[in-house]
Amino acid sequence: MSQWKPVKEKDRYGIAIHNFHQDAAYRIKLMVGEAVHILEENGGWFFGYSTKNRAVRGIFPKSYIHIKECIVDRTGPVEVVTLKQPHVVQELTSVLREWGHIWKHLYIIHSEHFETIEHRIYELIRYRSKILSGTLPVDELKEIKQLVTSKIDMGNKLLDLDMVVRDDQGNILNPDITSTIQLYWQHELATERIKKATSVPMEKAQKTLTQYSHIFFVSVRNFVCKMSEDAELLMTLYDAKEGRAITENYVVRWSKEGLARDIDQLHNLRVLFTDLGSRDLSREKVYLVCYVVRVGAMEVRDPDHRRSSHVPKKVHAEGMRRPFGVAAMDVTLYITGKIEGNEEEHHFIPFLQCCERDNLDGTLRRILTLKELPQKEHKGQGLWTSLKLLHGDLKQVREENPHLVLGNVTIARKMGFPEVILPGDVRNDLYLTLVSGEFSKGSKSTDRNVEVTVRVCNEKGQSIPVSMTVTCVLVIVIIYSNKVTSKFI
């Protein structure tokens, strides 16, 4: 191997890892960190030149050089050897070197930009090493790239250097390929952007001001209650001032054993109350109300503990829905954003049982007037939930909070239009609320119990098999008036 052979293309770029200084013929002096272009090799020696001084060519030992992958560009009249690195890193390196020169000059003339540029340079060095370290995921890399390019642009403007034209993602536009008109428009946009960034201090924009749609996330953890039958929990957001519910009801079926009816849904009892607009966020008092409805026999029967083996008689009025109680919690502070909800924190909502001859509405009103429910009222019964207010519309929330919104999360829409109505958003909903009814006593001395069913009929009187989502159908008892809301699509 006594011939000087040209090196392979990809081995042509190297960095000196140590100072090399040997006083002998044809050696060139290298300092650590200097970049070299290699032309030929022989044994333990390379022949080439340093990028600092291309005219002088000489030899240097292989052991002092670390080869870096490079690309040889032969499109122009002279071949250009560049390192194989992401574009942004390349740009950063050249920008930093240029600024370093100028910075020294600023030092001499006592310029006031001296310190700003110094900070910028250090920042950019840090970002560059972060990008090169390769530990950043794709999204973060894109963010940092944009940040870095905007900082470069601002610094260039400060130093009165030429501006580089970029496109939306921060890539440099190649003037050979892009049209002149496009270049002009991108220049305009870039100048505007920089002017805005330098004149207004960089502040994180308040998200709630620009978002039009908010979502309130509730996750049911547990429901503690002494009861002998299955129940249904109907949760909704309730406006105390107006005295009505804002959203649809979210129904959870709870079995008498004290667990959710579908066991596999146990950890996944989540609901998103969507379409809340800024008007809803500024309501005076908002409550998260949970109506508990018993499904079963007419009267409440206390469970007989002594005779646990005794199976109660099957009552043929199975499946009658009776009001049982209400649990309510003031969530105004969460809705307005004053308290930041945490999906890990569990809140206890005390539960008040309906007394005789009281209806759900009355119970609710009692809770609302009572500031705090004393222990003897709720007897340790209540609902455990987690709450959080999220910003953005459904798609955005899904993207930003995948751990909250994964899988099947129920959506409870607002009973009204959202603030921003997108085209293609079709809602043909009819909310039917049965408020109360009056029936004559007839021949009985006491009031009767009446059951109401609702059906949709067409003009001929035939009932249409409409998909009716029954959110709450209750047995109407004269004194237990209640609400029915049914949704038709």
Binding site: I17, H18, V32, A35, G43, I59, P61, H110, I125
Partner: protein, 289 residues
């Protein structure tokens, strides 16, 4: 912690399950989407496990709590600070870098010199003091170096009006004998007794001249001006600069200079001892010219 695990689940499985939950959480925090991101997530989780086990949790709940204390952002910060520490250490300890620094010393010193001379050229206002060291109210005088750097121009001016440069008097630079600072200054001798002026003594410097006037007395308004001017006059006289500001500026300039030089070295480790130089090549017949 090994012994607190219940008997029906072996310890390693429990640990694996907790680690898998941590992996999921970290993946969401990092917003990893593509397959290449997966390796990066694994790196982070590795580091998280390392940190958590180093704290030796006693129970699994404790382990979970520790996991919560080390989200992705904390790990990224830890990495960043480790890299910075390593860089700092390298810049101050590795022999090739120290050699590089030595080589650049001279250029940096020259740079600082230039800056000081520039300060003198721009000139500055100094509050006027009598020969005894009493402050003359509302009077200042302006001093600057001439553009050919051969003489110092000075003249009285009003405290407020910056533009009135009455630089009628001048002294030639070649007639400067020496520069004295602090207590040795002639106008400061009377000030030694008064306690209130002690800090002013530190900011006083005088140029002792050959002919008339005997000396030009200055009391600098702040430490930086004092440093700059004493350095500048020392440069004119050909003496080495002595101020603390010069040292700190020197360090800063050299540091950045070296960092910029080593930009391409990201990720490449620098050997401490010089690598061995091979024997001479057999011939010097390079193919291309």
């Amino acid at each position: 912690m090994v012994f607190t695990a219940s008997s029906d689940c072996p310890f390693m499985e429990e640990l694996f399950c907790h680690a898998a939950l941590l992996l999921g959480r970290t993946r969401r925090e990092m917003r990893a989407r593509t397959p290449s991101d997966q390796e990066k997530v694994m790196l982070v989780v590795q580091r998280q496990l390392q940190e958590a086990l180093a704290l030796q949790p006693v129970t699994l709940e404790h382990l979970n709590e520790i996991f919560r204390r080390f989200p992705y952002s904390v790990i990224a910060e830890i990495w960043q600070s480790e890299i910075e520490e390593k860089e700092e250490w390298e810049l101050t300890h590795l022999p090739p870098i120290l050699e590089l620094k030595k080589e650049r010393c001279d250029t940096i010193l020259e740079l600082i010199q230039q800056q000081r001379i520039n300060t003198l050229l721009r000139g500055a206002k100094f509050p006027k003091y009598t020969a005894r060291g009493q402050r003359v109210k509302k009077k200042s005088w302006f001093v600057c170096l001439s553009t050919n750097q051969r003489s110092l121009h000075y003249g009285d001016c009003d405290d407020k009006n910056k533009l009135m440069l009455d630089c009628s008097s001048k002294i030639a630079v070649c007639s400067i004998l020496t520069l004295v600072t602090g207590k040795k200054c002639p106008h400061v001798r009377d000030m030694r007794n008064r306690k209130a002026d002690q800090d002013k003594i530190d900011l006083a410097f005088s140029i002792i001249l050959d002919g008339e006037p005997r000396s030009l007395d200055f009391i600098a308004p702040d430490q930086q001006a004092f440093d700059y001017w004493t350095d500048g006059i020392n440069c004119l006289l050909g003496n080495p600069m002595t101020s603390a500001t010069k040292d700190s500026e020197f360090k800063m300039l050299l540091d950045l200079e070296v960092r910029l030089q080593l930009l391409d070295m990201d990720g490449i480790s620098i050997p401490r001892k010089p690598p061995p130089v091979p024997k001479d090549p057999p011939n010097y017949n390079f193919c291309s010219t």
